[in-house]
C-alpha cells in the first residue's frame, strides 16, 4: 500500500530529482554552482587598437624574413647546425651503446662489490628492508641531502617569480584566478570528500613504510601534495588557508630541513671521526626501526608535500 506524499515533498526527494535530471527537464545543480562569466576583462578601444598595432608591427619585424636578410640567414644556419648536432649526438650515443656491456646480465661491470655489499649487508648495517631507501638515506646520504635542498631552492625561485606582495597585486591575482574557474562545484566536492582522506592516508602510509617496502619520503610527499591540491580545487582557498598558509609552509619546511641537516651532520661527524653512533637500529621489519631513516623520510615527506602544494598555489594565485 502506497502512501500519498504531498507534491512539494515529493519534488524534494532524490528520486524525483534524478528522474528530472534523466529526462533533461531540470538540472539539479543549476544555480548552486557559482561560475564567473567566461570572458576577458574589458579593454578600451584605443588600448586595443594600440595593442593590435604594436603586435602587427612587431610581427612584421620578427617574421619579415624577406627583408631581414641577416635574420633569415641566422635562422637557417641555426636550424641546420642544431639538426646536424642532434643527429651527430644520437649517432654517437648509439655507437656508445653498441659498445656497452649487454643488457640484463649479472656479470656486467655495474654489478660489482658495491651493489653486492648494499644487498648483502644493507639489512644489517642500515636496518632498512627496502635496500634502495637504505642506500639513498644512509650509504649515499650526502646526495639526498643535496637533493632535498634542490627542491627547497626551486620553491624559493618560484616564490621570487610568482609571489605577489602588495595589496593591489594580490587582489589582481585573486581576480585572475577566478576567471574560468567554477566555485562550489558539487560533483568535484562530493568526489573530493570521498577521495581526499584515502589519498592523504595512502601518502602517510607510503612515507612511514618507506624503509619496509617500496616508497619513501619523496613519493609519499608527492601523493600528499596531490591530495592537498585536490582538496584546494574542490573547496577553494578560504578553506585551505585556515590550516595552510605561507607562514606554515616556511616554518614546517625550515624545521624539516634543519632537522634533516642536523641528523645528517651528526651521522657524518660520528662516521668520519670513527665515533660509535648511539642511535639504535631496531629490529628490521618493525615500523620503529632502521635508525634515522624513518625520521629522515618524514622530514623529506613534509618538505615535498609543502613544496608541491606551494608550487600549485603560486602558479594559481601568487600568494596564500
Amino acid at each position: 500500500m502506497s502512501r500519498k506524499v504531498p507534491e512539494e515533498r515529493y519534488r524534494k526527494t532524490f528520486s524525483y530529482q534524478f528522474k528530472a535530471w534523466l529526462e533533461g527537464t531540470k538540472d539539479p545543480f543549476l544555480g548552486r554552482v557559482e561560475m564567473r562569466r567566461q570572458e576577458a576583462p574589458p579593454e578600451s578601444k584605443e588600448e586595443k587598437e594600440r595593442r593590435e598595432r604594436d603586435e602587427e608591427a612587431l610581427k612584421a619585424r620578427v617574421y619579415d624574413l624577406e627583408h631581414n636578410f641577416e635574420m633569415r640567414i641566422f635562422n637557417r644556419l641555426y636550424r641546420v647546425f642544431s639538426i646536424l648536432f642532434c643527429i651527430f649526438l644520437v649517432v654517437m650515443l648509439l655507437a656508445a651503446v653498441s659498445d656497452l656491456p649487454a643488457f640484463g646480465r649479472g656479470e656486467n661491470p655495474v654489478n660489482n662489490e658495491v651493489a653486492q655489499r648494499y644487498i648483502e649487508e644493507g639489512l644489517e648495517e642500515t636496518g632498512a628492508v627496502n635496500i634502495v631507501t637504505g642506500m639513498i638515506l644512509d650509504y649515499r646520504a650526502f646526495d639526498t641531502l643535496g637533493e632535498s635542498h634542490v627542491l627547497f631552492i626551486a620553491t624559493c625561485t618560484v616564490l621570487i617569480l610568482l609571489r605577489r606582495d602588495g595589496e593591489e597585486e594580490q587582489r589582481e591575482g585573486r581576480d585572475n584566478d577566478r576567471l574560468y574557474e567554477p566555485k562550489d562545484d558539487v560533483i568535484l566536492q562530493t568526489a573530493a570528500r570521498v577521495l581526499v582522506p584515502p589519498i592523504l592516508l595512502f601518502g602517510i602510509y607510503i612515507i612511514l613504510a618507506g624503509h619496509l617496502g617500496p616508497g619513501g619520503g619523496f613519493s609519499g610527499g608527492a601523493v600528499i601534495g596531490a591530495g592537498l591540491i585536490l582538496y584546494l580545487n574542490a573547496f577553494g582557498f578560504a578553506k585551505t588557508e585556515r590550516f595552510f598558509t605561507a607562514r606554515t609552509y616556511r616554518r614546517t619546511s625550515f624545521c624539516a630541513l634543519a632537522c634533516y641537516s642536523l641528523a645528517k651532520s651528526y651521522s657524518f661527524y660520528t662516521g668520519a671521526n670513527h665515533i660509535e653512533s648511539v642511535i639504535p637500529l631496531g629490529t628490521p621489519g618493525a615500523i620503529l626501526s632502521s635508525g634515522l631513516i624513518l625520521v629522515l623520510n618524514i622530514c623529506v615527506g613534509v618538505v615535498v608535500a609543502g613544496t608541491m602544494y606551494t608550487f600549485y598555489v603560486m602558479f594559481r594565485k601568487g600568494g596564500y
Partner: protein, 534 residues
C-alpha cells in the same frame, strides 16, 4: 683525526643550513647571517689550507661507510685554496652591491636573495671538495638554479628573458653531463672518482669499451663547457650579466662558471686521467672553441655600447682563454687556466663594481655616451676601473699579465698548438686593449658641451619597473619613467659616500696587486695541488 679536518664538511653543512635559515628571517637579519657565514667559511678554509699544505691531502668520508660504499669529500691544497679565495671574492662582491640590492630587489624578497647566495656558496664548496660524480651532478643543479635566482631577482623583462635563455642552455648542459656520468658508470660500475680512475686504467689496459669511455668524456666536457658559456653557447651571458643586480653580475661572472671549470679539471685529472684525455680528440674541440671565443668575444665587446654588457662580452673572451689552456692538455696549461680562473675572478668582479660606481656618477646610466668624464666624478671607481682594464689587457704588475705569461709559457714547445695559441694570445690582447683603453680614455675625458643632447633622456637606467599592460603600456611607462628621472647626467660621488663599496674596491685592487706581484707562491701552490690530484 685532527679537528681541523672536519672544517670542509662543516663549511658545506653550515652554508647548506644557512639557506633555509635565511628564508625564515627578514631581509636585514638574512644579510647579517649571510655575511657571517661567508666570513666564517673563509676563515675555516684558511685553517684547512694551513693544515693541508703542511701535510698530505686527505679523504673525509661522509657517513659510516668508507671508500666505494659511501660518499666522500677530498681535501688537498688546491681545493682549500680555491674555497678560501671564492669566499673572499664572494664577500667582497656582496659588500660592493649593498646599495644596488636595496634599490633593485623588492622589499619582501630580500631574504630570498640571501637564500640563493648561501646555497650558491654551498654548491661551489661541494663542487670543489666532492670526490663523487653523482654528488657533483646534484650540486651542479643547485648551482644552476641558484644562479638563475640571482639573475632574475631584479624583476624586469630583460632579466626574465636572460634567465630563461640561461636555464635552457644550462639544462642542455646538465643533461649531457648526467648522460656522460651514466655512461661512465655503466662501464666502470663506480661513482667515486678514485675508484673510477682505477677501473678506467684496467679498461684501457684491456682495450674494451673504448668508444663508450670517449663518448662519456666528450659528453661531460661538452656539457660543462656549455654550462660555463664557452663561445658558441654564450648567447645568454651578456643579458644575464648586463641587467642583473650588481652583486649578482659580479658573483655570476667571477664564481659560478668557475665552479664548473674546476669540476672539469677534476674530471680530467682525477676521473679519466690526463693521459687518456690527451690522447682523445675532445681537448682539441675545447681548444678550437676556446680560441674562437677569445676572438669573437672581444669583437662583440668592441661593438657594444653599454658598459656592463661590454664587460660581460669580455667574460666570454676570458672563458675562451681558460678553455684554450685546458685544451693544451698539459700540466702547464692546466696551471695557467687555474691561475686565470683566479685572476679573472678578482678582476672581473672589480670591473663590475667599478662600472657601477661610474654609472652612479653618471645619473645611473652606463651607456657609453653618458660615462664621459665619470672618472673625475667618482675618483676611486675611476682608478679601480683603470686597474681592472690594465689587468685584463695584460699590463705587468697586475694579475692578468701573469696569466698571459703562463699561457704563453705553456704553449711553448707544444707540438701542434704552439703557433695558434701564441697568435690568438697576441690578437686577443690587441683587441682587449682596443675596447678597454677606449673606455678608460672615455672616462677620463672632460665632456664637451653638446647642446643637442640636453633634451634626450639619459637611457633607461634606474629601477626597472614591472608593468602588466600590453606592449603599448610598457613603452608608455618607460617613456614616463624616463621623464620622471632627474635630468642630472652627472654628479660627484664622494669617496666615503658608500664605505662598503669603497672598501670592496680597495680590497679588489689589493687582491689584483697581490696576484700580480706575488705570483710565484700561488703558482707553486697550484702546481702542488695538481700533483696531489694524481
Amino acid at each position: 683525526m685532527a679537528f681541523v679536518q672536519n672544517f670542509p664538511f662543516m663549511s658545506i653543512l653550515l652554508s647548506l643550513f644557512s639557506g633555509p635559515l635565511c628564508s625564515v628571517l627578514d631581509g636585514k637579519w638574512a644579510r647579517r647571517v649571510n655575511t657571517a657565514v661567508i666570513a666564517v667559511i673563509g676563515i675555516m678554509s684558511a685553517f684547512v689550507l694551513k693544515h693541508v699544505s703542511a701535510g698530505q691531502p686527505y679523504v673525509y668520508r661522509m657517513g659510516h661507510f668508507s671508500a666505494p660504499w659511501g660518499n666522500e669529500i677530498r681535501v688537498g691544497t688546491l681545493e682549500a685554496f680555491m674555497a678560501c679565495f671564492f669566499c673572499a671574492v664572494m664577500l667582497l662582491c656582496m659588500l660592493g652591491g649593498i646599495r644596488e640590492r636595496a634599490a633593485q630587489i623588492e622589499e619582501g624578497k630580500q631574504n630570498l636573495y640571501y637564500v640563493m647566495v648561501n646555497l650558491l656558496l654551498c654548491s661551489l664548496l661541494a663542487l670543489i671538495y666532492t670526490n663523487d660524480l653523482f654528488t657533483a651532478y646534484v650540486f651542479v643543479e643547485i648551482n644552476t638554479i641558484s644562479a638563475c635566482g640571482l639573475i632574475m631577482i631584479r624583476q624586469t623583462g630583460r632579466t626574465f628573458e636572460a634567465a630563461t635563455r640561461y636555464m635552457i642552455m644550462s639544462l642542455l648542459g646538465s643533461g649531457l653531463l648526467l648522460l656522460g656520468i651514466c655512461h661512465l658508470y655503466a662501464v666502470t660500475g663506480h661513482l667515486l672518482m678514485s675508484n673510477i680512475k682505477e677501473q678506467v686504467q684496467v679498461i684501457t689496459a684491456t682495450g674494451r669499451y673504448h668508444i663508450s669511455l670517449m663518448v662519456a668524456l666528450g659528453l661531460m666536457s661538452v656539457g660543462l663547457a656549455i654550462k660555463s658559456a664557452l663561445y658558441p653557447f654564450h648567447a645568454w651571458l651578456p643579458d644575464a650579466y648586463g641587467y642583473s643586480t650588481l652583486s649578482s653580475s659580479a658573483i655570476l661572472s667571477s664564481l659560478v662558471s668557475k665552479g664548473y671549470i674546476f669540476l672539469l679539471i677534476k674530471i680530467f685529472y682525477r676521473v679519466v686521467g690526463i693521459q687518456a684525455v690527451r690522447e682523445s680528440k675532445v681537448v682539441n674541440v675545447l681548444f678550437v672553441f676556446g680560441i674562437a671565443g677569445m676572438i669573437m668575444g672581444s669583437l662583440s665587446a668592441i661593438k657594444e655600447e653599454n658598459l656592463k654588457r661590454m664587460i660581460a662580452y669580455s667574460s666570454v673572451a676570458q672563458i675562451g682563454y681558460i678553455y684554450m689552456g685546458l685544451g693544451l692538455a698539459t700540466d702547464a696549461g692546466a696551471i695557467a687556466s687555474l691561475y686565470h680562473v683566479l685572476s679573472h675572478a678578482a678582476t672581473k668582479s672589480l670591473l663590475f663594481v667599478a662600472a657601477a660606481g661610474l654609472a652612479q656618477a653618471s645619473g645611473g646610466s652606463d651607456r657609453y655616451g653618458d660615462i664621459t668624464g665619470a672618472g673625475f666624478r667618482n675618483r676611486l671607481a675611476g682608478v679601480a676601473f683603470t686597474v681592472g682594464s690594465l689587468s685584463m689587457v695584460g699590463m705587468p704588475v697586475f694579475s692578468g699579465f701573469i696569466s698571459k705569461l703562463l699561457f704563453a709559457r705553456a704553449a711553448v714547445g707544444h707540438a701542434h698548438k704552439m703557433l695558434p695559441t701564441v697568435i690568438a694570445l697576441a690578437v686577443s690582447t690587441i683587441l682587449n686593449a682596443v675596447y678597454f683603453m677606449k673606455t678608460v680614455i672615455r672616462i677620463y675625458t672632460i665632456r664637451p658641451v653638446e647642446p643637442g643632447r640636453e633634451g634626450e633622456n639619459p637611457g633607461s637606467g634606474g629601477t626597472g619597473r614591472q608593468s602588466r599592460g600590453g606592449i603599448g603600456a610598457v613603452s608608455a611607462i618607460e617613456v614616463a619613467e624616463a621623464e620622471i628621472l632627474p635630468k642630472e647626467t652627472g654628479r660627484t660621488v664622494r669617496l666615503l659616500e658608500e664605505p662598503a663599496k669603497a672598501a670592496a674596491l680597495v680590497c679588489f685592487i689589493l687582491l689584483n696587486l697581490i696576484l700580480g706581484l706575488n705570483s710565484d707562491p700561488i703558482v707553486r701552490l697550484i702546481q702542488g695541488g695538481i700533483e696531489m690530484f694524481e
